[in-house]
Each structure stands twice: as structure tokens, then as C-alpha cells.
């Protein structure tokens, strides 16, 4: 079984010497070692970026994916807080390029805000999913700078509201563990919302609850590498009791369907067993 990981930040800041093509080779080397078939690259997503910074990040994603398109796919990051035409132009440019198969939204603008309309309209037009950050985060332990960074955050009830506003859009709520059981309940009745399994450490029980509340067909594997490790994030899925078909849906089939991904010939992945 060769999983598809939809949530990877390639960390160019940590390896500034690597070109997009160099990063692609490094990523595919890791994927071969770990047994991953394909990975979704999210690019540079820190909040508050201007249009030039967003473009640079998406340029890097495009260069990375274009070097190994049979193993990598890109998600176009945008900041909906920027001027609407700039957001639309960036989305049109990227989503008409084969490197990009989705959109990534992070912490810039709460997703109930009307400034998301342009993003969701383009997602529907290009028929690509939107991977949106979500977390019921405690602010008490955060310093002033970290709190400020969270000012535009979305929680899973916000994601549910967005999904109801755009029922034709497909939304992936990132960080199952961050939203927890409350978050799963928020989106349970929204058939156009999927959940990615990333977030924090592999706490037991949350994935089992997700299987019960929304079913395996709406759960997608994501690691949040490089901030998180493949070991812990894959261990969450491999170590949770569930039928083999459910595990394959989460690790492979749901991502392939959501992002219209090609088949990758199977190769040995003994390291994860």
C-alpha cells in the first residue's frame, strides 16, 4: 500500500540552497524511502503575505511540482485579505497550470468573510478542492505575537458555514486533531467537507470517532510534514483499528478522487509495516 499525503510543507526556508527541482528530488527520495505514492505541496503559507510573496511561494511550488509531476501535486496558496483582483489573477494563473490541483487557505481571513467568495468561485469553476486550516486552539498559552497570528483563524463551525454557503465547493478541513470531536460534529452534516488527519500528535480515539461520525469516505491522510513527522502521522492511521478498506480509502482512494490524481505503480513500503 502506497499512501498519498495531501498536506506537506516542503520547508524551503530550512533548506534555502535547494531549487524547486532540488526540493522535488529531496521529496521524492523521502517518499521512496517511506513508501509514499504522491504528495500535495502547500507552499509557503504564513499569514500576512503581500501579493509578491504569495507569487514567489507559488512559483516555488510550481517549480517543485513541475520537476516531478508524476509524484507531486501543488495547492495554490492565496491570501484573501489582498485585493480581490490580485487573488483572482493568482488563482487563474495557477489553476490553469497542470502543477496545481487545489487551493490552500490558512490564517489570514476568517472563512465566514465575504472576501472568500472569489476564492470559492474559482474553486468551483476549476473544480478543485480547498484545503482550509482549522483548529479550536487555546490562546492562553500563546505569546502576543502568536495570538496576533491567530487573529484571522477559522474554526470548524466557520468551515461548516463556508460549506453551506458554497454547497458546490469541496472543502478539506485541515487538522482533525486540532478541531477534535467538537469539530467533527460541526461538519458532520456538511457532505461537501472532508477532514485531513493531520494536527498535533497521534492521540488515540479521535480517528475512531471520525470514522463513526463522518465515515471513512470523508477522511483524507495528511501529515503536515516537515513540522510533523511521517512516523507519528502515519502511525495514527496504521495503529487505529479499522477495516482494511477504510484504511485504504483514507490513505489512498479519497485523495485520488478529490484531486483527480493518476495511478502510481505500486512499490514496496515495508518500512511502514
Amino acid at each position: 500500500m502506497n499512501p498519498i499525503d495531501i498536506h506537506i510543507h516542503p520547508d524551503p526556508a530550512g533548506r534555502p540552497h535547494l531549487s524547486g527541482a532540488g526540493m522535488a528530488e529531496a521529496m521524492v527520495g523521502l517518499m521512496d524511502h517511506a513508501g509514499l505514492a504522491m504528495c500535495g505541496i502547500l507552499g509557503e503559507v504564513h499569514p500576512g503575505q503581500d501579493a509578491a510573496s504569495v507569487r514567489r511561494g507559488n512559483d516555488y511550488t510550481q517549480a517543485t511540482v513541475s520537476a516531478r509531476p508524476e509524484r507531486l501535486f501543488g495547492l495554490c496558496f492565496v491570501n484573501p485579505g489582498l485585493e480581490a483582483n490580485a487573488v483572482r489573477d493568482e488563482l487563474d494563473q495557477r489553476l490553469s497550470h497542470p502543477a496545481f490541483r487545489g487551493i490552500k487557505l490558512e490564517l489570514d481571513v476568517n472563512c465566514r468573510d465575504a472576501r472568500l467568495d472569489v476564492v470559492m468561485e474559482r474553486a468551483i469553476y476549476y473544480s478543485v478542492p480547498v484545503l482550509h486550516h482549522s483548529w479550536y486552539i487555546n490562546l492562553w498559552g500563546l505569546g502576543p505575537a502568536a495570538r496576533e497570528k491567530q487573529a484571522g483563524r477559522s474554526e470548524s463551525h466557520d468551515i461548516a458555514a463556508l460549506a453551506r454557503r458554497f454547497p458546490q465547493a469541496r472543502i478539506i478541513m485541515a487538522h482533525m486533531e486540532g478541531s477534535g470531536i467538537r469539530g467533527l460534529l460541526d461538519i458532520a452534516e456538511c457532505p461537501n467537507v472532508w477532514v485531513d488527519t493531520s494536527g498535533s500528535l497521534p492521540f488515540s480515539g479521535t480517528l475512531e470517532m471520525a470514522l463513526e461520525l463522518i465515515g471513512p469516505e470523508r477522511i483524507v491522510y495528511g501529515s503536515d510534514l516537515y513540522g510533523r513527522g511521517l512516523e507519528g502521522q502515519l502511525g495514527r492511521i496504521l495503529g487505529t483499528p479499522m477495516p482494511p478498506q477504510a484504511r485504504e480509502a483514507i490513505l489512498i482512494h479519497n485523495a485520488r478522487s478529490l484531486f483527480a490524481l493518476p495511478e502510481v505503480p505500486a512499490f514496496p513500503a515495508a518500512l511502514l509495516l
Binding site: 487555546n138 488515540s204 480515539g205 475512531e208 495503529g239 483499528p241
Partner: protein, 247 residues
């Protein structure tokens, strides 16, 4: 590869839906993950004001599971902690003593802790110090517990060189501080994370002081096993030592 898990527990926690809710289920999950021996404390003793009550019931249950070794939870603020521990030592083959300073409301600098360190050193029992039990970002609003400062544990280990300490649930960012503790301070791997988890940890903390801990049933034990597996870039001998040899 043989695994000795220094950070396991059994029981009920009010804000988490454990996958493994009985001793039998925990034993089976650890067996599936290939863990040969696990040091197990009672989950309820973290919150209950009289830890030995739950500990003793757990110890009875563990008698049927040779894989699982009993761990006493100790609150050094309780008047009877020493007498109670001495009684247990005489009748139960304890693997270690476990502390939850954040939940029991004390600093590691308090005099009662020094007495406990002395006791544990003389008894030859490691002191397991839980820096946290969950991710502070996700704690319920009604139960927000700050982590135990790694600086306090590093200082405690230097002050009590005859006692062996194991930090449980340390995050990667706390390892450099823990590394400043004495050679008698070890850390488990349960909360370590990031790409190539153990290699990253070994860059911040001596690999020979890292030990295997799953933090089951809070965390999924299979995930801890994978950290020590061949996905890691650390040499096999180093990984084997972390799995059980460093204890």
C-alpha cells in the same frame, strides 16, 4: 527489535475517547506494536486525590498480564506518600514512581520533592516526571494545565545525581534544556515529532539518554514504534538502544 515502554497507562480519562479502554485492550495494542514490556500507571491517579486507591486496583489487574509492570503514581504533597510507597515496595515489584507536578500542584523545587528523590534513589526506582499529558493547545477550557518547566527538571536531576529521572512527554523544543540536566536525566520519545523525528531529537539531546515511551493510551503506540523503525536515519544500533538498551 525489543521495546520497553516506560510511558504507558491504563484507565479512564474524562476528556478523551481512548482507543484502548481496558487493561486487556491496552495489552493487546502494545502486543500488536511489538512492545515486549511496558511500565503502566493508573490514568485515574492523575486526577484522583488519593492515587494509591486506583493504583492498587490496577496492580491487581496487571497480575494477569506479564508484559505490564506496575508504576506507582506519587503525590509528594500527601502526608502518607512515603509510608504508602514503602508498603507497596514490600509487596509489589514496582518498575518506577511517576509524578504529575502540573496536575498535583507543586513545583519540582519544593522540599517534599527532594525527599521523594532521596527515597527513589535509595530504593533504586526511576522517577518518571510527566511534563504534560496532552497538547496544551487542545486542552479543554475547564482543565488548562501548564507544562512542567524543563528547567526545573534539569536542575532537580543535577541536585540528585544518585536518582534516575525520565522526562515524559517532552517536546522537541524542550530537549536542549533537558540536555543541561545530569547524565541521570533521560527523556522518552512519546511527544517528539518532526521530519526524521529521532535524528532531529538526537541533534538536541544525547541519543544514549533517549528511551522508548508510547504514552499509550493517550497516544497510539504504533506511532511510537514507527519512530524507532528504519524510517529513521539513525543507525540501527542507536535505534535499538533507544528501544530498550538505554534503560
Amino acid at each position: 527489535m525489543n521495546f520497553t515502554d516506560v510511558n504507558a497507562a491504563a484507565g479512564f480519562w474524562p476528556t478523551q475517547h481512548f482507543s484502548f479502554r481496558t487493561v486487556e485492550a491496552l495489552d493487546a495494542a502494545l502486543a500488536r506494536a511489538g512492545i515486549a514490556t511496558a511500565w503502566v500507571s493508573a490514568v485515574e491517579s492523575i486526577l484522583y486525590p488519593f492515587p494509591e486507591w486506583h493504583d492498587h486496583r490496577l496492580f491487581e489487574a496487571l497480575g494477569n498480564f506479564p508484559r505490564l509492570r506496575p508504576v506507582r503514581t506519587v503525590n509528594p504533597l500527601l502526608a502518607n506518600w512515603e509510608a504508602s510507597c514503602r508498603k507497596d515496595l514490600a509487596r509489589t515489584p514496582l518498575a518506577a514512581l511517576k509524578l504529575f507536578p502540573g496536575y498535583h500542584g507543586y513545583s519540582l523545587g519544593e522540599p517534599a520533592v527532594a525527599e521523594l528523590c532521596q527515597f527513589a534513589g535509595e530504593a533504586g526506582l526511576p522517577l518518571l516526571v510527566a511534563l504534560r499529558v496532552n497538547d496544551e493547545r487542545n486542552q479543554p477550557t475547564c482543565m488548562q494545565v501548564a507544562p512542567v518547566p524543563a528547567t526545573e527538571l534539569a536542575a532537580l536531576s543535577r541536585a540528585h545525581p544518585q536518582t534516575r529521572f525520565i522526562a515524559l512527554c517532552a517536546m522537541g523544543r524542550e530537549l536542549p534544556t533537558l540536555a543541561e540536566g545530569g547524565p541521570n536525566l533521560l527523556s522518552d520519545i512519546s511527544f517528539l515529532d518532526g521530519a526524521d523525528t529521532l535524528a532531529r531529537a538526537a541533534a538536541a539531546f544525547p541519543a544514549e539518554r533517549l528511551v522508548f515511551g508510547s504514552h499509550a493510551p493517550f497516544l497510539i503506540p504504533h506511532a511510537a514504534k514507527l519512530k524507532v523503525g528504519p524510517l529513521s536515519s539513525l543507525p540501527e544500533a542507536t535505534r535499538q538502544a533507544i528501544a530498550c538498551g538505554n534503560l
